[in-house]
């Protein structure tokens, strides 16, 4: 099996689907000749031509609307929003239109669109590049939100997202793009949407995370183990909808949970996950479900990222709180 970074796995997924389905179109700002600002589409225009992989004018609202129009013509658009913060420009197209089109056509039209977008902190980008805006999108019925944490999941989930006949927002954490390699099959495979994954088994506490925070949770779990606490780490992978079956099953075993997200306390999905756990498993809980989040400010000026972003120490602290409750 090949060793790939997450960005290589993502490119590989797009290459796979460009080959498998001639209706797949990839477009966005700088994705053509330049291969994208992160090189996610590197080489794809050379391989598949400008008809299939092309630059757009600089307008996210246009990119969103164009995707809808092409989907109405039977194409399977895979647009890129260059950085998450620019999704605001496309908010009507994505939340107001494409997410609702199946519904407003009485179930007769479909929007097989996969919007890829980088997000996530720790890489010193300017304003509105790194924000965790997933909560705005999970609040919108009609669109799935997928966030991989490993190269293997990234490829399988992206292929599955592209094949799905409903819109998917596929969010790629920038810090994970090149920070490590993982095993990725060269052939075509899928990872099921809407299914979480236990990334580490444990008995004393359930850590629920997604994106880069999965790795902070794994790091915290290692540290906790040294102190005799066995933590289970669940990677949500799809955050809308959330796979509550796997969470509840785990909580029934551990009786304690901590929900971790990079987003602010008022943002993300932590509050709704905690609410759902207490609805579904309150009698199994030995302690309140705590949250590890960022504070409720605007995403910090880049020099302050390190002190603002939640890290494994914050997770360990909250775990100790639920264990000693």
């Amino acid at each position: 099996m090949a060793q790939m970074t997450m960005i290589q796995a993502i490119t590989d997924a797009m290459r796979t689907e460009l080959k498998n389905d001639e209706n797949v179109l990839i477009f966005g700002e700088d994705v053509g000749q330049n291969g994208g600002v992160f090189r996610a589409t590197e080489g794809l225009q050379d391989e598949y031509g400008e008809d299939r992989v092309f630059d757009t004018p600089l307008a996210e609202s246009g990119i969103g609307g164009l995707s809808i129009g092409l989907a109405l013509q039977g194409f399977r658009p895979v647009p890129e929003i260059q950085f998450i913060g620019f999704i605001y420009e496309a908010m009507d197209a994505v939340n107001g239109q494409m997410s609702r089109l199946r519904y407003r056509s009485g179930g007769t039209q479909q929007m097989p669109i996969t919007i890829r977008t980088p997000f996530g902190g720790g890489v010193h980008t300017p304003e509105l590049h790194a924000d965790s805006l997933e909560g705005l999108m999970t609040a919108q019925p009609g669109i799935r939100v997928v966030i991989p944490s490993t190269p293997y999941d990234a490829k399988g989930l992206l292929i599955q997202s592209i094949r799905n006949n409903d819109p998917v927002l596929f969010m790629e954490h920038m810090k994970l793009y090149r920070s490590f390699k993982g095993e990725v099959p060269e052939e075509d495979y899928t990872v099921e949407l809407d299914k979480a994954d236990v990334k580490r088994e444990g008995n004393d506490v359930t850590l629920i995370a997604y994106g880069a925070m999965v790795h902070s949770a794994l790091k915290a779990a290692e540290e906790l183990e040294e102190n005799g606490i066995s933590a289970e780490v669940i990677d949500l992978r799809t955050i809308s909808p959330v796979d509550y079956d796997i969470i509840v099953e785990s909580v029934k075993k551990t009786n304690r949970a901590v929900m971790i997200q990079e987003a602010q306390k008022v943002a993300g999905i932590a509050s709704s996950v905690v609410a759902e756990i207490q609805e579904k498993a309150i009698l199994h809980l030995e302690a309140p479900v705590l949250r590890v989040t960022a504070p409720d400010t605007v995403y910090p000026f880049s020099q302050a990222e390190e002190v603002w972003l939640p890290n494994h120490n914050d997770i360990v602290e909250k775990v100790n709180n639920v264990i000693n409750f």
């Binding site: 700088d30 600089l58 300017p126 302050a304 002190v307």
Partner: protein, 360 residues
Amino acid sequence: MKRTLEQIEEQFQTFQIMNEEGEIVNENAMPDLSDEDLKEIMRRMVYTRILDQRSIALNRQGRLGFYAPTAGQEASQLGSHYALAQEDFILPAYRDVPQLIWHGLPLYQAFLFSKGHYKGNQMPEGVNALSPQIIIGAQITQAAGVGLGLKKRGKEAIAITYTGDGGASQGDFYEGLNFAGAYAAQTVFVVQNNQFAISVPVDKQSAAETIAQKAVAAGIEGIQVDGMDVLAVYAATQEARNRAINGEGPTLIETMTYRYGPHTMAGDDPTRYRTDEMDDEWEKKDPIVRFRKYLENKDLWSEDEENEVVEKAKEEIKAAIKEADNTPKQKVTDLISIMHEELPSNLKEQMEEYEEKESK
């Protein structure tokens, strides 16, 4: 009969006053600038070129953060700025830090902005400007608002906003022009057409021959200017400013220019989308080279004077980066404190939490 489109495009020939040889080719349009003004414009351009070189070097040493190179665009940036008054309000994009500096933003704060420190975004009293906009196009509709506000207040001042050729594709661009036109707002829109939006060439942005002609649909004035000719940029901006203040409505100015460097210092590689020939062709139009020739022909400029500016720039940059480096790091509590006038309850709680954390 000609098609309307052709007729319109014919009206948008590039306005030039001084050619690449530093010769005045359009005497009638020559702005009324004293010798001292001409020299000051040159000083600013030379200074800014040095600032760009030093910023790139500092960035490579890891001493700056986000930085968008400016070399090549000095005439567009500083020629337009020189036509402004201190009361004018600037709504810049990320590449337009030089205009802010010449409007009064201290250099060390410009460096703090680059480093990602909130103090870099605090405009000093009397500097009418926003910090550089990162979201392409957002400033353009806001400029219509500032321009309308100035008009309602009866001020003899304008709002001026800058974007690039890519920015002219955003919906906000069209909305901004249209709103400003509808209200005859005191706004001047400058599009610095440096031929590329990161890697995307301007001919992929639009079927329109020029960006300036987009003014037509909004019912406002539009002009395409040689953006490497500082006299032409100055004259066009001055005229636009006068018209705005006289109640004659907003103007769209497209300056034809080029960025010599990469898009930003965060990994852009221009060789992926530009040819050496294109770079060479544009460097022949260099705004500083041509203005130097013009001034030297008039005996207004010497090597010594230029060296003096270079030395001054280097010294000031050195001091400013030191000051930026010595600025205390931001804490989460600093960030919380600038969120609201009065802290809401959730942030009060978090303030206490982080005060405790940060005191350890």
